[in-house]
Symmetry: none
Subunit: 215 residues, 4 copies
DNA sequence: CATGAATGAGAGTTCATTCAT
DNA sequence: TATGAATGAACTCTCATTCAT
């Protein structure tokens, strides 16, 4: 009886407290995303994150143990959202072009859609230190792995895999930045541009810089 | 000794001092370069720089007013070295390909040659925050300007200038990283790769996506 | 089940609660005893005590208002156990020797018997700060009072009462420590030693350091 | 010339700065001594020490890295002062009584003389947690070692060495406290008392309680 | 009552910066 | 100028304590 009066309330509504807790976690993560984007990871302090929040300083530590930990949580979160999309897009690709365009498309789409979270992505005034967007970070390793695999299974001509990956990453990075700086970002345009650049480039690329013989 | 015979004491001392002074500036700049590379710009503190120096903390302020200022000085220094090379290389270009390859060549060469100054370019521990190499930063705006100009004077097809610039910058950035991670970096190979990618891509690029974006 | 048949719900619950309540008090007191012994009183925080408990932090404050209060409660508890023993032992003493030996015996016995509660009595790492055992603290004032009384009623030669008390306390303190550090502590041996020391010493003591006339 | 004008100034007066530095070290050490005595080692915070000082918070860390380190420095300092006195006093002893009385005399004298440094030795109000005086700590191990040696070389009857040492330490501890609480402390009186107690006690002690305990 | 998240004061420590020497 | 100790603001993190559930 007694118990019935007390416990189930929380259980029914999934717990007001549990709800508030989840919400605070969100608040902190969102604030962190903002602040990292504004100040860069290195310059950001835990206090900066807290200040971007209506919470008290101690509260932060109920959720994360350090700035590193929030950051990791952010990355995980993003990766969780981005990975399946990228994976699915690439798996069904049979041509190199499809692989490339699907990758860019998924990436630029995500960046543009999640833009709300990064309103003030700002290159530190005079200093211009690039801190990788979370989105970028999440896609980074993913792309490397997939691209290596794709090259491995012959989807691409035998070019220098590391160079190609690096180039795609660099293009993606920078175009994403450009996109985000535009009033009405057009991910499709970026996708077309990037894909054409890479595919056209590949065609023109001297095959096999690496030791493998010509003939 | 020698000097003693030739000049009055005052000047001699002034000379020595001026020398020492210039030397200290160097010491600080070199230390800063190292530390920025190791810790990233944001995370670096003035103390970190001083600690990487045999100088006393107060001495720092005889030369720079803040970390921002050393950083600026570093950029200026690099730009001073890099700019004439790039400018010269590009000025005599008549073809787009020459423009592109000369740019990449100048850039990669510089990066590789100045490598001694950046022994420990290191992606911050687990976190992977990219801090732009000073060299990269220095070439950045330069390239934008020149590329815009080149596009303007019809050297390139009328593609989205911003996209193209961003792509070249991105490729340059990332290939530079790859180069620096290699035992025996081959700037020519990187130049060939990057040039082929861009030129081949350009050929494949749908002309005039957009009339050139606003800001 | 049983209870269900005999008592109305309210009382049953109240009974259970009262029981749980008393048990929680115990849990906290025991945890506190441990933690005080491990960290020393000064360095112990309320959190430390709570952490040594399966209880929630808020629960602590249903029983005690502060670390001081738990501590006081511990002392009271111990005093409650130790006092009657000491009192009884001393009351029936007619000789000084009996008084002294009964005091030491009661004390050492208690210390050894309650040893289970103090498994890790530990001198703080490198620092060697003595934290008085609770038992010691409890017996402290008691001894002072009794000894003063005994001296007052002529049980001891007219020595400096304060010096004598202090000495007995000091001996008791330190021997207790030694006892607790031994594999198989022998309270009787300690009692014999301490008693002999004090009684022999008393015999040798120059009477009346204090103002009281000779004759 | 130049150097002559600059350097020697500092060297001549042993350096105003060096002097100030040494003085600050003193200030911190003295404050620490006070605060440890007042609050106990465990409860003392670095900030407490700083507050007992006219210095700024950061200054503490120019001298010591932690509370542990100041504490260690204090102990070292005291040991440095106390050790030679005790050693010398004991070395020339041929009788047990001389050994004991010299030890106590040296100890009590030191405690009384250094009293100025410990004006407010205060047992924390209701709580009474004893923290060993620095003086006591310094003499502690010393005494143990010397006493063991003395027993070893037959200066004392073959009593339980550990018990005897503990007793002497306990007596010394507590009498020192009493002394320090008195208006006009008389170290000679304490010495006589303690010596008589121990020597008289020794005479009365049952020889060889145990073959000397293990560890 | 028990719970445990929230709170903000305060501890330990580092920082940028000044200034007497 | 070079030095490096002093300073106090600011940072990371923990604490005691409250209070909605």
């Amino acid at each position: 009886m007694e118990a019935q009066l007390r416990r189930p309330v929380e259980q029914r509504v999934a717990g007001k407290r549990a709800q508030a807790k989840e919400q605070n976690r969100r608040v902190i993560l969102d604030a962190a995303r903002q602040v990292f984007a504004e100040l860069g990871y290195g310059a950001t302090t835990v206090r900066d994150i807290i200040r971007a929040t209506p919470l008290a300083s101690g509260t932060f530590y109920n959720y994360f143990r350090s700035k590193e930990e929030v950051f990791q949580a952010m990355r995980d979160e993003t990766a969780l959202a981005l990975r399946p999309v990228l994976r699915e897009a690439r798996l069904k690709c049979e041509t190199a072009e499809a692989f490339v365009s699907e990758t860019f498309r998924a990436f630029f789409s995500y960046v543009v859609e999640s833009r709300a979270n990064l309103p003030k992505l700002k290159r530190t005034e005079a200093v211009h230190v690039r801190v990788d967007t979370i989105e970028v970070l999440a896609g980074f390793e993913e792309l490397r792995a997939d691209l290596d695999a794709a090259i491995g299974r012959g989807l691409f001509a035998r070019v220098d895999a590391e160079f190609l990956t690096a180039s795609m990453v660099g293009i993606a990075f920078e175009l994403a930045d450009v996109l985000q700086s535009r009033e009405t970002p057009d991910p499709e345009a970026a996708t077309r541009f990037a894909t054409a650049l890479v595919m056209g480039g590949l065609a023109a690329l001297p095959k096999r810089e690496s030791p493998v013989p010509a003939a």
